[in-house]
Structures are given as C-alpha cells and as structure tokens.
Assembly symmetry: C2
Homo-oligomer: 307 residues x 2
C-alpha cells in the first residue's frame, strides 16, 4: 500500500465566471469542489491507475469533514489526524484563465501533531511506500518531514519527499529514498547554478535519489550510480498544476517493487504520467489514454556516469 501524507489538506473550490473584472461583482455560474492538497492529488492519480493507496494528513472543522466526504465519495480510503482548526480552502476563479486564492492553513497544536505521528506510525505498518507532499501548516515544526521520514524508515517503509524550503532541506538529512523538487524548489535549497550540479548537491545531503521536475524540459534523475534525462513526448499545452504530483505518483509506484529501482523505466513512466496530467484540466486527474500513448513514445537515455 502507498500512503500519501497531506499535512495541509484543502478543499479546492472552483468558481466559473463569465470574465474576471477586478473591483466588480460577479455571478458565479457554477461551483465545483473537491478534496485537494498535493498528497491528495498524488493519491487520486494512483487510485485512477488501480494502485492500493491510502490518504492521511491533518484535517479539521467543517472543511475537514467536506474533504473526508469527498474522498469517501471518490472511493479513496482516507484517515486524517483530526485538528481543532478548520481546514483551508482554495478558491480558483476560472474564466478561461485561472485566478487562485489560497487560504492560510489552520494552526496545528503540539498534542495534535503528537497524535498524528502516532496515527502515521500505525498506518506505516501496512504501507510499503510513503509520499510526503506539500507545505507544512503553521504550528508544526519545519522538521516535520524529517520526523516522519525517521518514523517510516524505522518501519522499513520507503519514502518519497516532495517539499520546499526548510521542510525539504531538513527532510533530506533524514535520508528519504527519493527527493522530488521542481527546479524552483531545488534552487531555493541548493542555490543557483546548473540543475544537475544542484541536484548532486541535494543528493549529497542524504536522499538515495533526486528527481527534478523541470516542466517542459522534462525530468532529471540523479543517483549515486548515474543520472538520466527524460523529455516530454512533445510540446504540450494544458494545465501544469498537478503535473508534479503525477511524477510523485509514478515514482511511488516504482518504489513499490522491492529491490533497486529501475530508473530509466521509472523516469519514462513519470514523464508520461506528468504529460498526461498536463492534458487534464483538473489537478489530480490524468488522461489515461494519453498516458498509455506517451509510454510508447518516451524513452530514457542511457545513464551518464556520476562525475
């Protein structure tokens, strides 16, 4: 089972309007809402591929209940650590383009975090892979992912870390199996410079592998044994939100098989899934037909040896 963790789960609300005019009043013609947050999106992709996946994280209040209700309707098993605060919403106003408003997350208390860690350890007993994705809510230490990685490793569970800023930096030292920053996140932690050099710097900080998602430039995988570059099958236009979560989903599947990861295959799969996510208008969905087509088209070059 793959366990995805969303410490700052959200209810993603979409408002359709005829056009966005600042400083005026808008009639919303349609409202859509569903559970969101990066870990939830990863779980959605995995569930659509038939993987055995479970969602956890922190959620609370009426919005937390709506998040749980939506996952239940989608048939995705979820068990959140409960918090007193009301989970955040995001509101995306769509009128062709998308304008996004992200509420701040609720603050998490120290007892709530302690209870969540106990739940996480319990869930780790049934998990083979854990995916840690997204921001860390206020009140939780910046070393939250480092703590969870240590917990998971004690239970022989493999870990993929998709974080930013300090939670990423501190998480690296706890030695996840894969760290998956995008180019901006990589630069924030490793500093400016050529991508492959920065990725090697990250690798030196602890993880067994680093995969950098670079949008239209594809993926760069770096391991102690070599590095690989995979490019998208073609120039795609669509919604890049959620493409990184599709990469995380593909890599989590690759981590499921015991033994060493088949990196060329895993990276080709991740690139195909990412491209299929761009074609889908909603984060967490992928275009399965396109995914299968892309899998045929994408090949991963032979590794470059480590310098």
């Amino acid at each position: 089972m793959i366990l995805t963790v969303t410490l700052n789960a959200a209810l993603d609300v979409t408002y359709e309007v005829d056009g966005l005019v600042p400083n005026s009043s808008h009639r919303v013609t349609a409202v859509h809402q569903r559970a969101g947050g990066k870990g939830v999106n990863v779980a959605r992709v995995l569930a659509s591929l038939g993987a055995d996946v479970r969602v956890t994280g922190l959620a609370g209040g009426r919005t937390g209940a709506e998040i749980a209700g939506d996952l239940s309707r989608a048939g995705i098993p979820a068990r959140f650590g409960t918090i007193e605060g009301d989970s955040r919403r995001t509101v995306t106003v769509v009128s062709g383009d998308a304008t996004v408003f992200n509420e701040p997350g609720p603050s998490v208390t120290e007892p709530e975090w302690r209870r969540f860690r106990a739940l996480f350890v319990e869930l780790c007993r049934d998990a083979r892979v854990v995916v840690l994705s997204g921001s860390v809510p206020p009140g939780v230490g910046q070393d939250a992912y480092a703590q969870l990685i240590a917990d998971a490793r004690r239970h022989d569970v493999r870990v993929l870390l998709d974080a930013d800023h300090e939670p990423l930096r501190l998480g690296l030292a706890a030695r996840p199996d894969v760290a998956k920053p995008n180019a901006a996140e990589l630069a924030r932690v490793a500093g400016p410079g050529p991508v492959e050099e920065a990725a090697r710097q990250l690798l030196a900080a602890g993880p067994a592998a680093v995969v950098v998602s670079r949008g239209a430039d594809g993926l760069l995988g770096v391991t102690p044994g070599g590095s690989w570059t995979v490019r998208p099958p073609r120039r795609l236009s669509g919604n890049p939100t959620g493409a990184g979560d599709a990469v995380a989903a593909a890599l989590a599947r690759a981590l499921l098989s015991p033994g060493p990861v088949d990196w060329p295959r895993a990276l080709a799969d991740a690139a195909a899934m990412s491209a299929a996510a761009v074609l889908s208008p909603v984060a967490g969905d992928i275009d399965l037909t396109a995914y299968r087509e892309f899998l045929q088209e994408i090949t991963c070059r032979s590794p470059r040896p480590p310098r």
Copy 2:
C-alpha cells in the same frame, strides 16, 4: 418583535490579499466570515440598536450550519427553514477595492417551501413587523413574497418589502405596508421616468407607502397623503453595501409603533442610519456614534401634497 426573512441566506466570506492580479495565484492573508444576506444585515442593524429582532429564511447544508452558528455567536435569535441544498457563499476579495463572487443559491423543493411557510406563519404570531429582503432562490415561485405578505396580513403583522424584479412586482399587489426599492429596482418595475412619478406608479399597485433609496441623493417617501425628500447629512465616502438594509431596519422600527407612521421622523431616521451604514466597512454594521450625530443634522422637509 421584528422578523426579518432571508430566503437566500449566505455565508459572506472576505479574503484579504495584497493585490488582485487576474490569472495569478494569491496568498490570502486573512479570512473573515459571517452570516449574510439582506435580511440578516437588517437584523444585525436592528440588534445593534437593541431592537427585539428574529431572523428566519431558508438555509441548509454545512454552510447553513455555519450561518446559524455565526448568528448564534452574535446573539441574534434565528430559526431557519431547513433545506437539503447547501446554502450559498459569497467571496469578497479585498485589496483596497472589493471584488465579489456570488455563488448561485441552492434550489428549494416544493415541500421545503411549504414547510417554511408553516414556520413563517408560526413566527408571525409573535411578530409585529416582517421585513422581506433580497432575492428569491431557484425553485421558489416568483410570487413567494406575495404569499408571505398575505400570510403576515392575516396575522395583522405589518410588512416591509425590499425586493427586485418579478418578486417585487407580484409582492406589491399583496399590499405590503412599505415597499423599499432602490432607484434601479424602481426603474425595473415601473419603467423609466422621473423617480417620484415612478414611485407613485408603484404606490398605485398596492403598497401603503413607497420609500425609494437613492444613494447620495437620499430618500424619497411617497404615501397617499403626500411625499417627502430627505438628503444625507453630507457627501460621504465609504461602503454603500448595506446602506439599503439600514434604511429597511429604520423603517421596520417605525412600523413597530401602532397607528399611522410619522413619516418625516421615520425618513430622517432612515437617512441617518443609511449614512451611518456607509461609514462602516461591513454590510450589517452601522457607526452608532455617527448615526446619533446625523440624527441631529437631518431634517425632513414638509410634505408635498399628492398630485
């Protein structure tokens, strides 16, 4: 007791952002939310003046529970007819200016409307004045206010109607004690032309009095016995949202006293309250100090006889 009716109750959510840039992502720095809808705003104003007020209308789902919870915390007694659908939200993005997104209201079923009418009749037993404000939700007939006015009149309850379009037009014939359109609503029902002529046309359709709120031009009151004009104490800058609800609140108080309405006094009071509402940043609040000052300053001219 004054009973205010909000058939399309809302949860008014305010997002503070540093600046609104269409087609980009925004960090919401603060979230405020409270019960809204025109009748709720009228009740807030009345409650802040110490009036005996009660809120009813239609509300449902999680948002309906949040609306009821907020009113309870504000100490405003509320008893809504329950509906299956989730009550609407409005989201106002504030960055100096205000950009508003109004969700469509939930659809109301025929049995839900029947149950609400029974509740309304029950609440009328304790009420001396009913305020009917705002839009009518989908599923409810355009003659909703006409039905409620007939119910109220059977219980000798005075009625103020603040509506628009067909619900206003059909409501007039049910003979409310006061119809309070703004200038745009008046023009939509009476057609274009001089305001006083249009107001007299409305009066001929059934209500005992018509009060037109005209923004910076003040109020026009028209009765069979004469008409009055009241102007704001001075040019005010502020938030005009909720100024009309403050007018409705003042007129509802005037209707509380048995016997004929003292129109010059009622209109001066309404103009002062409206101006005090403009000075307050949030609809439903009035600046009480400014209200008392304005009351000293505003005088209502002697009536012009009916033509």
